[in-house]
């Protein structure tokens, strides 16, 4: 069942694992999650190192092994229009239908080294390209695309902002270009999450929230680079220091998920990229 169908019945659970660097690593991660496939509805790959196997290749390999629903993270960065179009065509041809479009992951050292940022399309335009393809059966070069399915496309929004007005304007624009949902990035600012979620829902968009697992202080630091503005609360960090990472994560994730249910989220992404052992424990318990 696709994510779009799942959310019509319940709050979907999506788990996030890291994009592997080797096929063996992919096997190891997948084997560690065996037997838990009834605990989640979809899987998403997150890039946590500058070099890894291509996320699309990882998704295809996994799909060949098991009929799993993939929420694919499609990045705009470092691709010109032709490369973006190829990726979109590959996605639909291998059967991936759920896509969250993002600017892309920036690794500080890579960015500082002056790696050039190719930005032929921004996130809004990329959603429009995908939705135009879905409706018009043509790619951006005007070539006919043999595709009859429905795409479930969303974009990321960062709730770690006091002034939400510019973000709400963007959300409206996302809807206008055909987006189906937004993915809220991890945040402890419940008021901000609520306000954005309410506005997005009023525009007809589904809302997915994100929580991330934090097994160590170092992991917390790397998360703040992947998810700008996200910092675990000091009492949580204290628990990590005193070796109670499992308990701290379980109680934090449980609390957030019950909050999300109250808000009426369509889905929750539990990002365990880089700490898949902890992810296994959490999804077993939660």
């Amino acid at each position: 069942m696709g994510l779009a169908d799942v959310i019509s019945k319940k709050m979907a659970i999506v788990i996030g694992i890291r994009v592997p660097r080797t096929l063996k690593e992919l096997d190891d991660i997948w084997n560690s999650l065996k037997g838990l496939d009834d605990k989640f509805d979809a899987l998403t790959f997150s890039k946590i190192t500058p070099s890894s196997i291509d996320p699309l290749a990882s998704s295809v390999i996994l799909l060949q092994r098991t009929p799993i629903e993939i929420l694919y993270q499609l990045e705009c960065k470092k691709k010109n229009k032709s490369a973006v179009m190829s990726e979109v065509l590959t996605l639909i041809n291998v059967g991936i239908r759920s896509v969250v479009v993002s600017t892309g992951t920036f690794f500080q050292e890579e960015f500082d080294a002056g790696a050039s940022v190719v930005s032929d399309v921004d996130v809004t335009e990329l959603v429009r390209i995908m939705k135009t393809l879905e409706r018009g059966k043509r790619d951006i070069f005007g070539q006919v695309v043999d595709f009859d399915g429905k795409l479930f496309v969303g974009l990321r929004v960062n709730p770690n902002n006091e002034n939400l007005e510019p973000l709400l304007h963007s959300i409206k624009k996302f809807r206008e270009v055909g987006a189906d949902f937004i993915q809220l990035m991890p945040s402890l600012n419940i008021n901000s999450i609520k306000r954005i979620a309410e506005f997005a829902k009023s525009q007809g968009l589904a809302v997915f929230s994100t929580v991330c697992l934090v097994p160590s202080i170092e992991h917390a630091e790397s998360l703040s680079r992947r998810y700008p503005g996200f910092t675990p609360p000091p009492e949580f960090l204290e628990e990590l220091k005193s070796g109670r990472a499992d308990e701290a994560n379980l109680s934090q994730i449980s609390a957030m998920i019950s909050e999300f249910k109250k808000i009426g989220m369509s889905g929750c992404i539990i990002d365990g990229a880089g700490c898949e052992d902890l992810l296994r424990k959490v999804i077993t318990e939660v």
């Binding site: 809004t124 335009e125 006091e162």
Partner: protein, 207 residues
């Protein structure tokens, strides 16, 4: 300015050097004006034979450069190479007009707004498709690190860009200014990314 050792390495094979500065942008930036040429002359006159020097009015302009080069024709002809203290356009214009080996003394970064000497801001990428009316005089292509043309990206925290720490998100600035000018609807329009003129479509403007 390029590091001195890099310049030294490039001029090493040549005995006789001619120095050519720029009295326009490079002079304003204090990288290619009279003072810098004199300084370089002092540093290298013992090591190399400097056949002559000139601070050309605008080395990027073929018309004025041609006239300036006439004044120093003999010294240029005598030289093995010309060390050019101008932007990449100037260096190429000197190469085209003299047929000589040219050595750039500067690393051209961008064409920018001058706040004060030493502080310059890159505000235009010369994309050839200006949207500054819609974005109320602030260019997201030049200023936003991800070149978002439709609104803030997910790297904004409390209105600040986290990819360029210390900078305000350009879209927060645009929407704020648009609101105060009563042009919010214009700024919020959907727009496609700019089609850059790449290496395969070099820009030539002819009447």
């Amino acid at each position: 300015m390029k590091p001195l050792d890099e310049i030294e390495k490039m001029i090493e094979p040549y005995e006789k050097i001619f120095l050519l500065g720029c009295n326009s942008c490079a002079a304003v930036c204090r990288t290619g004006g009279e003072e810098q040429i004199k300084e370089f002359y002092k540093k290298f006159s013992g090591k190399k034979k400097i056949t002559g020097s000139i601070v050309a009015e605008t080395p990027c302009d073929m018309r004025t450069l041609r006239a300036d080069l006439r004044l120093v024709r003999k010294a240029v002809e005598e030289s093995d190479a010309i060390l050019v203290f101008a932007c990449g356009v100037g260096v190429q214009t000197v190469a085209a007009l003299t047929g000589k080996i040219v050595i750039p003394a500067l690393n051209t970064l961008f064409s920018g707004q001058v706040e004060r000497i030493g502080v310059y801001h890159e505000l235009c990428k010369f994309c050839g498709d200006c949207m500054l009316y819609e974005t109320v005089g602030i260019c997201p292509i030049a200023i936003c690190p991800v070149m978002s043309v439709n609104g803030p990206c997910e790297y904004v925290v409390d209105g600040k860009c986290t990819l360029l720490p210390g900078r305000e998100c350009v879209w927060y600035l645009i929407l704020d200014r648009a609101k105060s000018l009563g042009l919010l609807d214009l700024a919020l329009r959907y727009r496609e990314s700019r089609r850059y003129h790449g290496a395969l479509s070099l820009k030539v403007k002819e009447e």
